[in-house]
């Protein structure tokens, strides 16, 4: 390669979508750019000008505008612009202006098309919107399909290795000093190549066996062997090993089958570690399945509270194993529901059986099966219509308090909006609940619905499921024919809007303001969930989970073809970004929260999130248009 191209090539290869290009394409690129300098404040691309080049920011910063003058994006070093025009009619649709003194590399159109043809990743990247987001989500899914945890992941150190001629006493000392519980015994290689390998000094060795703590007990002490016995004489006949890329599950089966507690792990023929059964048990206890069964084995609220750290561990483990947001959301909801259910069982054991039947209803994210690791408790009691407040309410209040206090101790803080069964308003017989829902739907105003929209995510958790099902039926039947209600819900769904994207270490707002962090729940998942709920209500769906709601919406003509898919990808991307950043918080010993700081957002994630925010923003515009507020309720602001 020509030396003078190095400078340009190295710079471009650091940024998407050039980072994945082959060396040949990168060379071609670095040799064919044209260069231009733009003083801060000068136009780079003017609306409707003809364009036959892709623009790459070598240094400086650029602002891109919409036709109407609204800020569309703020771009920095390594970003590209102009590709929309190249892919369409070669007229500039988004004018660009230098925000700082800027050096632009112009990539000629023929080369741009060549890159699109030759590199799928490049093509996906420059085709805005669905394809890029879809690619990101699919990629994650693929990684997830291969989600077997390999046994090498459990290894924390290289094995202790000793020569066969070493005496038992020396070996015991060596193992003790290394604070290990086993060592591999090596000897000169023989004709059998199976366990031979060469060490870092190029010396050939043969692994002839494993020596464990228990061998010293059962073979040396119990049989009264001399401390000078060479360890080679203690070894069993058969060495059982496993390859480092086998699954943890396979390692466990291998140990059970052979009744051994130590298992040497080889990479091809080279020993890389020893796993102990306790490593596997420790690993398995971080699985959510184990956690749920553990919840139901607790006999007190205190015992349950002690499991709170395990919830976090299970959460981290799931994400590291490559789970998607739906899997994480539903596992955490299952865990939360299990806590709730166990607390109810324990409370009933203490307080005696309930005087009238009841259903413990959950709301919000738990009802949607979309719980995250940062969540408060939202629940209510739907009681039998035989409920008589004077005689029965004391029991249900006590029940509600135990659950609510217990959940708080388990890491689900009290709901600030008092959406809890301890609140008398939300501890009512079924007939009253029906009245509530009828009233919300028949006499809606955005203000009234602001605090009750959480009840439109509802599911039974324990008790008479039929009560909550009746409420779900009522909502599904009534909502589609109530335009005023839908308009009010839609209005509220527009209260929170996404940002424009990221610029360097800032979050960019639509008015050009820059912030240091962004609350991904408030500005991303929550408004997305809100708008999906409105469409789901409009089509009479009983589904509670946002992805299932999107399925139901997809069976109607409510959204334009493809719009539902876009929403699905956008929700998944934003939810996963939030989840990943919570894992980072936990791993760095911080309280997980819903904020992400732009400096922790990788390039590819930035681009994906920007696309997802755009999808959300467009969907909000459509929502406003689709569910207009009828003119006669002119009371709204």
């Amino acid at each position: 390669m020509e030396v003078e191209l190095l400078e340009i090539r190295q710079h471009m290869s650091r940024f998407p979508p050039f980072e994945s290009l082959s060396d040949d394409l990168l060379d071609a690129l670095a040799g064919q750019v044209e260069v231009g300098y733009f003083k801060a404040g000068t136009d780079i691309l003017v609306l409707d000008q003809e364009l036959h080049e892709l623009c790459y920011i070598r240094s400086g910063a650029v602002e891109v505008y919409r036709r109407n003058g609204d800020l569309y994006n703020r771009l920095g070093e390594g970003d590209i612009f102009g590709h929309f025009s190249l892919l369409r009619n070669h007229r500039v649709r988004f004018p660009a202006r230098a925000l700082e003194d800027t050096l632009i590399y112009f990539i000629p159109e023929p080369l741009f098309h060549k890159l699109c043809e030759a590199d799928e990743h490049f093509a996906d990247f420059v085709e805005l919107g669905r394809p890029r987001m879809a690619a990101a989500v699919e990629q994650h899914k693929q990684a997830n399909d291969m989600m077997i945890t390999r046994v090498r992941k459990l290894l924390t150190r290289y094995p202790v290795m000793i020569e066969a001629a070493t005496t038992v006493q020396q070996a015991a000392r060596q193992i003790g000093e290394a604070q290990a519980s086993a060592a591999l015994v090596l000897d000169a290689p023989d004709n059998n190549p199976r366990y031979t390998f060469t060490d870092s000094q190029d010396r050939p060795w043969k692994v002839c066996g494993i020596l464990t703590d228990s061998d010293f007990r059962t073979r040396v002490v119990a049989e009264g062997l001399s401390p000078d016995t060479p360890v080679g004489e203690l070894l069993g006949e058969r060495l059982i090993t496993i390859q480092s890329d086998e699954s943890v599950h396979e390692a466990m089966l291998c140990m059970l089958r052979n009744n051994i507690h130590h298992l040497p792990v080889l990479h091809r023929r080279r020993p890389v570690g020893i796993v102990h059964l306790s490593d596997i048990i420790r690993y398995e206890t971080h699985s959510s399945l184990y956690l749920v069964s553990n919840i139901f084995h607790q006999s007190s609220a205190e015992g349950l509270a002690k499991l709170a750290p395990d919830v976090r561990a299970a959460f981290v483990r799931m994400v590291e194993d490559g789970a998607n947001s739906q899997m994480v959301g539903s596992a955490l909801s299952t865990i939360g529901r299990s806590f709730t259910r166990r607390l109810l069982e324990l409370a009933e054991e203490e307080l005696g059986p309930p005087p009238v039947p009841y259903c413990f209803m959950v709301n919000g994210s738990m009802a949607r099966n979309e719980q995250s690791i940062v969540t408060d408790q939202d629940h209510a009691l739907v009681l039998s219509d035989d409920f008589d407040a004077k005689r029965h309410d004391a029991y249900f209040l006590a029940l509600a308090e135990r659950v609510s206090d217990g959940l708080d101790a388990c890491g689900y803080p009290y709901c600030k909006g008092e959406v809890m069964a301890t609140n008398a308003k939300w501890r009512q017989p079924l007939s009253v609940w029906k009245r509530y829902f009828n009233d919300w739907i028949d006499n809606p105003t955005p203000e009234r619905l602001l605090h009750s929209s959480i009840f439109f995510d509802l599911d039974s958790n324990y008790g008479e499921e039929a009560y909550v099902e009746q409420l779900q039926d009522l909502v599904a039947k009534k909502a589609p024919g109530s335009p005023l209600f839908l308009a009010a819900m839609a209005r509220n769904a527009l209260n929170r809007t996404p940002p424009l994207g990221f610029f360097r270490t800032f979050v960019m707002e639509k008015d050009g303001k820059q912030n240091n962090s962004i609350n991904l729940k408030r500005r991303g998942t929550a408004p997305m969930v809100d708008l999906i709920r409105v469409h789901a209500l409009a089509c009479g769906s009983q589904a509670q989970n946002s992805f299932e709601r999107l399925d139901a919406i997809g069976n109607t003509q409510l959204l334009a073809p493809g719009a539902g898919e876009k929403l699905r990808y956008a929700l998944e991307l934003i939810a996963m970004a939030r989840i990943r950043h919570q894992v980072i918080d936990i791993q760095q010993d911080r309280m997980p929260d819903n904020n992400i700081e732009p400096e922790n957002v990788e390039d590819s994630e930035r681009h994906n999130l920007k696309d997802a925010f755009q999808v959300l923003s467009n969907a909000q515009k459509f929502l406003k248009y689709r569910y207009p507020m009828p003119a006669r309720t002119g009371r709204s602001r």
Binding site: E34, G36, Y37, S59, D101, L103
Partner: protein, 241 residues
């Protein structure tokens, strides 16, 4: 502009007239073609002038004692640098190369051993420069070395107009009232070296000392200087030397 009035009165040749006169009299056909292509007239606005950024790597600073090692050039205009049309030659110096200058220029002995003599390169170089106004950073290298090259290989002198980005920097930072005030205050003078000058305009740092990369860096610097300090209609007569 203040700095202009303070710049010393310079008596510049009438470049188009000089080039035309040389074209008539010169005997080497290569030089004749170069001179005949002339250069833009002094009243040409800089944003319409065809330019060529030029950089030589040499074994030293004295054109009579030292040799050219490599030549890089990039055609450009104020709006666009035509990087794809860049040209680059390594030439064999007449005296052996010291190992210091080898590491400095990142050119190896074998590259030099296979390189042609300047005589072979000169016609191509002159053709690439023809009709374009040369832009260099520090004219006291490029001009004397190419003049010496023409004298020794073609037997005749070679003089040509250049825009020197270093002297444009000097007009602001060495000759201005502010610069004289700084000097009076015994403050160190502002550096007008290529990389330091570039940094003042927010241009990226390039790993220098490759003739082509320095030519590119010089072209970018001129674009930045004009965008910052001049009207795009400034004439090349105000800028060249």
């Amino acid at each position: 502009m203040l700095s202009h009035r303070l710049s010393p009165a310079r008596s510049l040749p009438d470049w188009p007239a000089y080039l035309a006169a040389r074209a008539d009299r010169v005997s080497s056909p290569e030089l004749a073609r170069y001179f005949a292509a002339s250069c833009p007239t002094p009243d040409t606005p800089i944003d319409e002038a065809p330019l060529v950024a030029l950089d030589l790597e040499t074994t030293g600073l004295d054109a009579r004692r030292h040799d050219i090692v490599s030549i890089g050039l990039v055609p450009f205009t104020l709006g666009r640098i035509r990087w794809a049309e860049r040209r680059y030659w390594v030439v064999r110096p007449s005296r052996p190369l010291s190992s210091e200058s080898i590491t400095f220029h990142r050119i190896t002995h074998s590259e030099i051993a296979e390189a042609p003599d300047l005589a072979t390169v000169l016609p191509e170089l002159l053709e690439a420069m023809a009709g374009r106004l040369a832009v260099v950073h520090f004219r006291h290298i490029e001009r004397p070395f190419l003049d010496e090259a023409a004298r020794s290989r073609l037997g005749e002198e070679l003089r040509f107009p250049v825009i020197d980005t270093m002297s444009l920097e000097a007009r602001r930072h060495r000759l201005s009232l502010w610069a004289r005030f700084r000097r009076w205050m015994r403050r160190p003078p502002v550096s007008i070296r290529l990389s330091d000058s570039r940094a003042r305009y927010g241009l990226p740092a390039y790993q220098g000392h490759h003739a082509l990369l320095d030519a590119l860096a010089t072209a970018e610097l001129l674009q930045a200087q004009i965008a910052t300090h001049y009207r795009s209609q400034a004439t090349i007569g105000e800028l060249w030397s």
